[in-house]
Amino acid sequence: MTNEELKITITSLFATATFDEGGEWLNVNVETADWKSFAQRLRNDDQFLFDFLFCLTCIDWKTHLTMVYHAESTKYRHNIVVKVKLDAAKPEIETVSDIWQTADFHEREVYELFGVNFLNHPDLRLLILPDGWEGRNPLRKDFDDPVNMIKL
């Protein structure tokens, strides 16, 4: 499907979804509560078949966090970017590791670097950071490490 066709189809299925203009791929904004069912639809619906989650990351905007998911269909070769806004004080979102298995590690990475709590994740613990880093999230804008960091 082209971006325009994707947009029309998604709007008909999820009335609450909004779209960001610009960029090569279609950008969809989804509510946190809708994310799980939306992801399930993207992966399994015959007209979407987004079977390849090739990027999962997070952005700290200071006021809030944004989860960003990039997915591609290896059958139709169409791409999509899904953004989900999270509360900075209590960032929580449903895991998609049961839908795309690669999300298991990626969510652990976002968990350790941004402190996002992935609900129902099978094994949510630090991925690369050494033990003892729980609760300290180095990619958050307000992160401070007086021992190792030299501030400019």
């Binding site: 050494p130 960091m149 030299i150 501030k151």
Partner: protein, 201 residues
């Protein structure tokens, strides 16, 4: 200690001939020029006079096998220097070893993060003496572009292990690395320890 040694070789002629045949190559010529001692060509043999320490240092400096160790983009330049175009084998760096136990020099080609630091220390400890260290590029010298505002980067590899030669650049050009390797050779030939080199110019 200044030991004077004299080598008398009946097969000296053949030894000399090998040098002559290969003297077309500049590298061998410079090797011959840098030989620390006198070669006396006599009928039916020959005599070489030299100091044992100088000979040992000369031999060491011309056979330095680096450890395969590259933590980031400096590694690409390092590979380039190892490859056919720049070819550090010409200067005795010959072949990169995958085991620290067979390596003489470790070229720190890249960023050292806090998690990597104990690994680097262990690799250095596992290398057999005499061992040498080259800090290649800004990251290995001081943390470089990651000096400020990072929680994970060691601000210079010399916080972890002692460094013999520093190469500036981000990353350094292959020529710069070759210059560093040859600087290390000069340092070894001088026979001075790392501490003496620092205090005595």
């Amino acid at each position: 200690m200044d030991w004077i040694v004299v080598f008398v070789s009946k097969n000296f002629l053949s030894f000399k001939n090998t040098f002559d045949i290969r003297s077309m190559s500049n590298e061998v010529k410079s090797l011959q020029d840098s030989f620390p001692g006198q070669v006396h060509d006599l009928p039916g043999g020959g005599i070489i006079t030299s100091k044992l320490d100088d000979l040992v240092n000369w031999a060491r400096s011309n056979s330095l096998w680096p450890l395969t160790f590259a933590t980031s983009c400096c590694g690409i330049e390092y590979m380039s220097v190892a490859g056919a175009k720049y070819d550090f084998s010409r200067f005795g760096f010959e072949v990169a070893r995958a085991s620290p136990r067979q390596a003489d020099v470790i070229i720190i080609a890249g960023t050292i993060v806090n998690k990597m630091a104990p690994v680097l220390k262990r690799l250095y400890d596992q290398m057999a003496d005499p061992k040498y260290v080259i800090a290649m590029g800004a990251c290995a010298i001081s943390g470089g572009p990651f000096f400020y505002n990072t929680y994970s980067v060691v601000k210079g590899a010399d916080h972890v292990i002692p460094v013999d030669v520093y190469v500036a650049g981000c990353p350094p050009r292959p020529e710069a690395l070759i210059h560093a390797l040859m600087t290390l050779q000069e340092k070894i030939k001088s026979g001075k320890t790392r501490e003496q080199w620092k205090t005595v110019p």
